[in-house]
């Protein structure tokens, strides 16, 4: 089976790597793909929280690579909402040095037999944790935010990925606020494309529903009302090779909206 092994990384912390992994993993599984998400953020694991799986962890990634459980299957946590979605959680008590790149490569080789997609959630930074996460991957998604430091770090990461022979990483631009872009207070999609010059996989608008989803442990991609959820569903389709037009984030009210405003004097 030709599994796609995709690392999700960013350089800078807090831009939405884990959120992206949780939503893409869920979104792909909703399309009947068999998906495993590996959290490599050893010591700072979060992906299990976003998936609402924290209380079901028995074994973790380190147990698996150290052969402390029978097989990786024992450590995989199966999602209860979607078929075919699994999580391999990070260890919370060890640190980044507990994992080696060769161990990751070996593990992913085994997982490839069974899954369509292997999504690797990378820790922030460019040190050993990043190296371990990238080592087994053949594709990469770089997550960034529309602000200068995040874009700088993304640029650095793209260079590092290319040095590791992942020549065409894909970009997810997260937390875009169209109202701020309109006032030229925020970098827009074109500014970022100009600098990073890699394939844009999708733009996710800033959305309060993300926070709700994160706290509930239910990825926003399930939420049909959420703009961010829609953006992630589109990203999943593009990842699968569909040509999906980019969403318009125009917040200007339409004809009906203007009429409504007139009536209400707002």
């Amino acid at each position: 089976m030709a599994a796609r092994v995709i690392v999700v990384t960013s350089g800078k912390g807090g831009v939405g790597k884990t959120t992206t992994v949780a939503n893409l993993g869920t979104g792909l599984a909703l399309r009947q793909k068999k998906v495993v998400m590996i959290d490599t953020d050893i010591g700072l694991r979060n992906l299990d929280l976003l998936m609402g799986m924290e209380n079901r962890i028995c074994f973790d990634l380190i147990n698996v690579v150290e052969n402390e459980c029978r097989s990786y299957r024992q450590a995989l946590i199966k999602d209860k909402r979607v078929e075919n979605l699994y999580l391999l959680p990070a260890s919370q008590i060890k640190n980044k040095d507990a994992l080696k790149a060769e161990q990751m490569i070996k593990l992913v080789e085994q997982l490839k037999e069974e899954f369509d997609y292997i999504l690797i959630d990378s820790p922030a930074g460019i040190e050993s944790g990043f190296e371990n996460a990238v080592a087994p991957a053949t594709e990469a998604i770089v997550v960034t935010n529309p602000e200068v430091p995040a874009v700088r770090d993304a640029d650095r990461i793209i260079g590092l990925l290319q040095a590791k022979k992942i020549y065409e990483p894909m970009l997810v631009l997260n937390r875009l606020r169209s109202d701020m872009v309109k006032k030229r207070d925020m970098l827009d999609v074109d500014d970022i494309n100009d600098i990073l010059a890699i394939k844009l996989l999708g733009v996710v608008p800033e959305d309060e529903q993300i926070i709700v989803a994160t706290n509930k442990g239910e990825p926003v991609v399930f939420n049909q009302q959420s703009k961010a959820g829609e953006a992630f569903r589109n990203i999943v389709r593009r990842l699968e090779g569909e040509a999906v037009p980019f969403m318009s984030f125009n917040t200007e009210p339409g004809v009906f909206g203007r009429f409504w405003k007139m009536l209400h004097g707002k």
Binding site: R152, D153, D155, R156, I158, G159, L160, Q162, I195, A197
Partner: protein, 211 residues
């Protein structure tokens, strides 16, 4: 002052603990045989202190004949001392300044693609980039730098002191420009110029002009 040569206290050879090891300094003035005598006396008095050591010898510009060298070795051998190496200072201070390598004539490095944050191209010659140089990317050349794209990072042309070196870009919007020993940065809030521009030295500053 001729009396002083026999006085033990006035003329002594200096031993110094350098990073490379204990070093004996033999001045360039006066005959070498004179200093050998001084050394012999000095070691005789401090026998136990120096005994059995391996030392460095700093001669400055003095050249030793084979017989002088064997005499020096003989004196040191009397006190079980050996010579580890000569002139430890010379390597440290003078060698890097001797003759910088000349750039290979006509050498050009052509780079296709984006020079990203954290990446650096260094070349002994000219650099041509067919693509952009992003903030945090660096180009360092002994000759000229040409960017067929947007230069947003740092470019240092003529890095070994070539004041004639030039920096050319289709869009020049660098964090910093450096030519030879002169550094400059764009004035705050200045927009990048439209169209290709060239930066070179005029007087003591770097000026940017339309190409």
């Amino acid at each position: 002052m001729s009396v002083a040569t026999n006085s033990l206290s006035s003329e002594q050879l200096v031993f110094k603990g350098l990073k490379q090891g204990l070093t004996l300094f033999i001045p360039e003035e006066k005959a070498f045989t004179y200093w050998l005598g001084v050394l012999d006396e000095q070691l005789e008095r401090a026998k136990t202190f120096f005994q059995g050591g391996s030392i460095l010898v700093e001669l400055g510009d003095r050249k030793l004949s084979p017989s002088e060298l064997s005499d020096l070795k003989a004196v040191l051998a009397k006190y079980q001392m050996t010579i580890k190496a000569f002139n430890p200072l010379a390597k440290k201070l003078f060698s890097p300044r001797t003759k910088p390598e000349e750039p290979e004539p006509g050498g050009v490095l052509l780079f296709k693609g984006t020079v990203r944050n954290g990446q650096r191209l260094e070349y002994n010659g000219d650099i041509v980039v067919k693509g952009d140089v992003n903030p945090g990317g660096e180009l360092i050349a002994t000759g000229d730098i040409i960017v067929l794209g947007v230069l947003r990072g740092i470019a240092h042309a003529g890095v070994r002191g070539n004041l004639e070196a030039e920096i050319i870009a289709l869009t020049l919007a660098p964090v910093q420009l450096r030519i030879a020993h002169i550094y400059s940065r764009a004035p705050e809030g200045m927009e990048a110029g439209q169209g290709p521009e060239i930066a070179h030295i005029k007087g003591e500053t770097i000026v940017v002009e339309r190409l």
